[in-house]
């Protein structure tokens, strides 16, 4: 095991796959000479050269579309979008093309494309650089959606995504790029999509948190244990499409209480979807309504004070868990 930062783990994932497969290449805005806006592609241009690490103009829809075209012709492109907000400029290529092409052409062609993008708030970047769009991509049939929270998961899921024959939306979190974690040595660390991780075991309440909120949920669980005598089970879904619903339902069957935490907006969010699934499939197991902790229903404000107020924190999760337990019927 080596201790790596998330950005290093992601870089290693790309470098290892590029070494092993000539058809894998990276393109995006400032991924080469600049080494990535968040330094995720550091060193890749030096190792692989301009043919395989391609700086592009600021043309999101066309960059993603070229990735789709190149993938249809048999390559395995990785396209980096500088932040999830910019991915909206490429939604036509993501939804109308990448996700639809294998289906609408009757399986004649595959789109083995990975679109990486970082999101999330906390850096005072205001309403155009700070959002969380997991729910937008979660809704689209034809896509796979990954949202890793640890360096080991980042590496294992990205390597798996590059080898996958489906278009993958790979969502990273800006705040997590610098976080450290143990990463298995060697080049064969691949994680299956659709396998949640149980970050902490507990029998009183199930807390599902993704991306940075997986970490915040664990802090909340610690507080619940220390200050309230409540043992929370924390689940990180790691991928949203496919979703490991079984692990979540099994936990809820044990705890009878569920809290879902995400940075994104409340309406039509990841939590809204998951709450519906839990009540559809585990209604009898629930002792209280499913609680959601989400970002505030506003474009992300700039002011540090307002921005922090718009994001979920450990205290919100603790309150939601306690409310769920108190609300038992």
């Amino acid at each position: 095991m080596a201790t790596l930062r998330m950005r290093e783990a992601l870089r290693d994932a790309m470098a290892e796959e590029m070494r092993g497969d000539e058809s894998v290449f990276l393109m995006g805005e400032d991924v080469g000479v600049f080494q990535g806006a968040f330094k995720v592609s550091e060193g890749l241009l030096d190792e692989f050269g301009e043919r395989r690490v391609r700086d592009t103009p600021i043309s999101e829809n066309t960059i993603v579309g070229m990735g789709v075209g190149a993938a249809m012709a048999g390559l395995r492109p990785i396209v980096e979008i500088m932040t999830v907000n910019f991915s909206l400029l490429a939604m036509d290529m993501i939804v109308n093309h990448a996700a639809a092409i294998p289906y609408m052409f009757g399986g004649q062609v595959r789109v083995p494309l990975v679109i990486r993008m970082p999101g999330g708030g906390g850096h005072q970047l205001g309403p155009t650089h700070s959002h969380s769009f997991e729910a937008l991509f979660l809704q689209i049939p034809g896509l796979l959606v990954a949202c890793p929270s640890t360096p080991a998961d980042g590496k294992g899921l990205l390597k798996a995504a590059i080898r996958d024959d489906n278009p993958v939306i790979f969502i990273e979190h800006e705040t997590l790029y610098g976080s450290r974690g143990e990463v298995p040595d060697g080049g064969d660390h691949y994680l299956d999509f659709g396998e949640a991780a149980i970050r902490r075991e507990g029998g009183d309440v199930t807390i599902v948190g993704l991306l940075r909120m997986a970490e915040t949920a664990q802090q909340a669980a610690q507080t619940l244990a220390n200050e309230h005598g409540v043992e929370a089970e924390v689940i990180d879904p790691r991928t949203l499409r496919p979703l490991d619903l079984d692990t979540i339902l099994e936990s809820v069957a044990k705890t009878n209480h569920a809290v879902i935490v995400e940075e994104g907006w409340p309406h039509g969010g990841v939590g809204a979807n998951l709450a519906a699934l839990i009540q559809e499939q585990a209604f009898d197991a629930l002792d209280a309504p499913v609680q959601r902790v989400t970002g505030a229903d506003v474009p992300m404000p700039y002011s540090k004070r307002l921005e922090q107020a718009a994001m979920p924190h450990s205290e919100h999760i603790v309150s939601a868990a306690l409310a769920s337990l108190e609300g038992s019927v």
């Binding site: 058809s23 290449f25 043919r51 592009t56 103009p57 043309s59 829809n61 066309t62 960059i63 993603v64 579309g65 070229m66 990735g67 789709v68 075209g69 190149a70 993938a71 249809m72 012709a73 048999g74 390559l75 492109p77 036509d92 290529m93 109308n96 093309h97 092409i101 294998p102 289906y103 609408m104 052409f105 009757g106 399986g107 004649q108 062609v109 595959r110 049939p141 034809g142 796979l144 798996a160 080898r163 996958d164 024959d165 489906n166 691949y190 299956d192 999509f193 659709g194 396998e195 499409r241 496919p242 979703l243 490991d244 619903l245 079984d246 692990t247 519906a276 699934l277 559809e280 499939q281």
Partner: protein, 412 residues
């Protein structure tokens, strides 16, 4: 709307044959090749006429965009492409697929939404696709093909192959953001792509001078480093000669270019178009330059092919199209249980069953109309497969996901 009628200026421009007049008439190709050009145009014409009829009979659904009048641009272009070159086009591409060699039966079956259609009934008229003949699709999003074409070109370039991508799109697409983005990237990266705008003078019902500030579309990408040439798209030989040169530039010199073919669709934008934006007289003017009649006339007057041979071609085209209709009509509707097929590729590299729909298998309120007896229940249960401990069991039980060995060969 009165101002929606096309102006006299456009008509004048449109009825001039670009700069075709100043050039010497292109030489006729061999008798065999000339015959093939003519007959392919005839097949496309008859196919489109028949598709229109079948649409009226509600055999084909959705939107139907016919390319009647544009045959010379299509056939002239495909006739100079290599077998392994890529062609990519718009939602008006029944003829493009046929010209690339796709069996008209399979195109008609796709229009009918049947299992033997090019996409097994998942795409429809706007989304014809034939990987084997490297016809990389019809697409329903105006301008959507441009980035994809650049991506195909990038793949050829990346692998050091000399394949060329020809990207055909309408005049309306030159106003999309993709046009600017893609032209810049293609020129910047010297991608082997020929961009060919089938300028039929209307973006749906909006005439060229009402939708584009620059009406000489061949110049529209020059500021992005893409030179252009304007040709008479009603003259199959002029198209052929011009596109051959641009394909050569792309193949040998990695010079992407823009060809503007002046052409015209006799029918409306789609079958649901009342055509209030143009005069009947304008359509008739263009019909006098009909690509099939004019080429047939030239072949006869040059003594290359006689009237009898032309009549035989018409008869063959008729037969091909009638057989296509019969084939499409006889082809079964897709099975309900194929609904989720081809949504995901289940690869060997990364084991896992990809969720299609995580909802519970029971019918949901408001979804009763989807029920078709037990089949719907089975479907819902299959659809409810999600990754997890039960995945391998479901995978064994499933059996309808694509066999990785049966996939079309990777072109890498």
């Amino acid at each position: 709307m009165a101002q929606s009628k096309s102006s006299a200026a456009t008509k004048k421009k449109a009825s001039g044959s670009a700069d075709g007049g100043s050039k010497a008439k292109p030489e006729l190709p061999s008798k065999k090749e000339s015959g093939e050009l003519l007959e392919t145009m005839m097949v496309i014409r008859r196919f489109e006429e028949e598709a229109g009829r079948q649409y009226q009979k509600a055999k084909a659904g959705g939107f139907l965009h016919l390319a009647i009048g544009e045959e010379a641009t299509i056939v002239g272009t495909t006739s100079v492409m290599h077998e392994d070159d890529y062609l990519i086009g718009t939602y008006r591409t029944h003829g493009h697929a046929i010209a690339r060699g796709t069996d008209p039966k399979r195109v008609m079956a796709e229009l009918f939404g049947r299992v033997d259609g090019t996409s097994g009934g998942r795409g429809g008229s706007m989304h014809i696709f034939d990987l084997e003949r490297r016809f990389m699709g019809g697409y329903g999003i105006v301008g959507g093909t441009l980035p994809l074409a650049a991506g195909l070109g990038l793949a050829s370039d990346y692998r050091g192959e000399d394949t060329v991508t020809v990207c055909m799109f309408g005049d309306g697409a030159t106003n999309t953001g993709n046009f600017g983005e893609t032209m810049n990237l293609a020129a910047l990266w010297k991608l082997p792509v020929v961009f060919l705008v089938e300028n039929n003078l209307y973006g749906m019902g909006t005439s060229l001078e009402r939708h584009s500030a620059v009406t000489n579309l061949s110049e529209k990408a020059s500021c992005m480093g893409i030179p252009g040439e304007r040709i008479d798209g009603m003259d199959v030989l002029a198209v052929r000669e011009c596109v051959a040169e641009h394909v050569r530039l792309a193949r040998e010199q990695r010079e992407p270019t823009l060809v503007e073919a002046f052409t015209y669709r006799y029918r409306g934008h789609s079958a649901a178009d009342p055509e209030i934006y143009r005069e009947k007289q304008e359509v008739e003017e263009w019909q006098r330059k009909d690509p099939i009649e004019s080429f047939a006339g030239r072949l006869v007057s040059d003594g290359a092919i006689d009237e009898e041979e032309i009549a035989a071609m018409r008869e063959r085209a008729e037969q091909i199209v009638l057989e296509a209709v019969a084939f499409a009509d006889a082809s079964p509707e897709p099975d309900l249980d194929s609904l989720y097929d081809h949504l995901y590729v289940v690869g060997e590299q990364v084991p896992g069953w990809y969720a299609v729909d995580e909802r519970s298998p029971d019918p949901h309120p408001g979804e009763e109309e989807r029920r078709a007896g037990e089949r719907a229940q089975e479907l819902a249960e299959r659809g409810a497969a999600y990754a997890g401990p039960g995945a391998s069991r479901r995978r064994e039980a499933g059996g309808d996901h694509p066999d990785p060995d049966a996939r079309p060969e990777d072109v890498a």
